[in-house]
Subunit: 371 residues, 2 copies
Amino acid sequence: MKLATLDTPAALVDEACLQRNIARMQRQVSGLGPRLRPHVKTTKCVAVAEQQRAAGGTGITVSTLREAEAFFDAGFDDILYAVGIVPAKLPAVKALRARGCRLIVILDSLAAAQAVVQAGPGLEVMIEIDTDGHRAGIAPDAPLLLDVARTLHNGGAVLVGVMTHAGASYDCRTHEALQAMAEQERSRCVAAAERIRTAGIPCPEVSVGSTPTALSARHLAGVTEVRAGVYAFNDLVMHGVGVCGLGDIALSVLTTVIGHHGTWMLVDAGWMAMSRDRGTAGHALDFGYGAVCDEAGQPIEGLVMGSANQEHGLISWREGFDGGSLERRFPLGTRLRVLPNHACATAAQFQHYEVLKAGGSITRWPRFNGW
Amino acid sequence: MKLATLDTPAALVDEACLQRNIARMQRQVSGLGPRLRPHVKTTKCVAVAEQQRAAGGTGITVSTLREAEAFFDAGFDDILYAVGIVPAKLPAVKALRARGCRLIVILDSLAAAQAVVQAGPGLEVMIEIDTDGHRAGIAPDAPLLLDVARTLHNGGAVLVGVMTHAGASYDCRTHEALQAMAEQERSRCVAAAERIRTAGIPCPEVSVGSTPTALSARHLAGVTEVRAGVYAFNDLVMHGVGVCGLGDIALSVLTTVIGHHGTWMLVDAGWMAMSRDRGTAGHALDFGYGAVCDEAGQPIEGLVMGSANQEHGLISWREGFDGGSLERRFPLGTRLRVLPNHACATAAQFQHYEVLKAGGSITRWPRFNGW
């Protein structure tokens, strides 16, 4: 199979770019000291996770128990399930552990800690720390932190450590702001671990991460592990945040021009292929549903997918930019690539990746979805 | 399996509601005269399409060749592929027709008409008409219309008729505006057919449709077929447009409360489950990522999913509404249903539906995704 004969729409992965992205993050994190535990929620693809492991990654992070099960079946046996655990999901956690999987859960409440303790001894747990007010976690200085740590420790659970995710880094727009956010994420999470240790409770691990903070941190003193996911593919949001160039985006949607109408042309990649993610809507440069490249992957200046229906993408020149007649330049049947706003969301619209190898051949890698 | 023991998140379908929705649309369209050709892109589920057929639906509409293939394999042999055809997809169209499937394609350009003619005689085609300036199609009064019709007719293709989709109806907010849009869709599509017939070219079918216009039309003189899809499930966008109530939404996402933080609570349905669709963002009542109901499906006034990460939904009271402490009212482990903005998008995040039968039991219906 060659690029020119792939059916469209297709999720195309440039393998050389993917490998550069994986190497860059591993080099950055290893250079600062911690281990890297890649988050596989972006790619949900065993072949990608194997490349991340080969590059030096230690264990994986998952966002669903379905991911944990699928990756354990594929030979990954050190897994952090990084979404707050609830009582109803503990039987599935215990079943995976009984099969030999090291599966660590996270929590941020006494109710969840009590449920974990009641589920039986030896479950491995990290306490989620709030370092940015973004979503979840216990504040590093909250009394609740030690109550939860004691409940776990005294109740027979294994407190592996503390973890945080500075999701607020996605709102940073300058390198200085990213560096400051990385330092805030690091220092607050380390402080939480220190409080627990000072109280006499072992708390060996300090796990932090997001792609923007991981790529921006100047030092990671006290951190033992970094988690990040989207860096493998990168996307227009990461480009807007300032941590990658357009040429570092490994995932694109291959599409075909199916018509011309008014000031736009239609392609067969609509929101079902791109996802409904409008992650660059608040950015200085709004890419609509995606930035348009030619079939070889070269960005076409000024051309964006401004809107989308289920199976129709509407592509036009940016306001104020005139690149000439779309119908003449991109006649019916022209093939294009569209770079996604958010790789996690776009990838999830597909069942497999079409992987463009360095030599020009195409290999298909399955991914999975659902829960 | 019972509702109380389903893993979350899950795509829950209330079968009684689904059946009411199917019956309502069939009654409306049959009452006005035309056939109803359900669009299966919303549900992508054979069991639902079988119920639509049993209710009186004639043939189906699809948005991808993958849908055409899957539904033909399941016994549906009269299919309209309602996305503009391109040369590269004609071999797959011919292959399906060779297997005995009546597969009709659509187009709106001379280039596509010439490609269809060159692909060999007898292909069945509809010309797409632009009745609302929304996306695609040829204007009813454009010279191009007769050029395309002649190219097809003289070239040996079978011109089945004309078709249109008044996507602009989604922007209507009053019953009067919807009625006017339905009449515009009808009258302009009929006018296009009349022009072709006046030129001496047979044009038997006039196919129109969108859920809002189909449910609002007062008469459909000259129309032979109506297409609609989302009516089977309905959603918050249809509610905002004014063609259904909250109690008419058959699809919801079953979810579990996994934490409390600040002014919100977290559930295990994030945008991966709800989709990134923010279809009510421009409505008088913005539901964020979804309207929240209790586990039994009763809407909880003032409670919305205001934001979402991949596997985290953040639910809070609407600004200005105070429903009390979320932690006390909805403790860890509480199960809720979230009504989606856009059923087509939310359903596509799942591999199957958990169907709640009238008696309370749960049946699983597969759906499919991809291309």
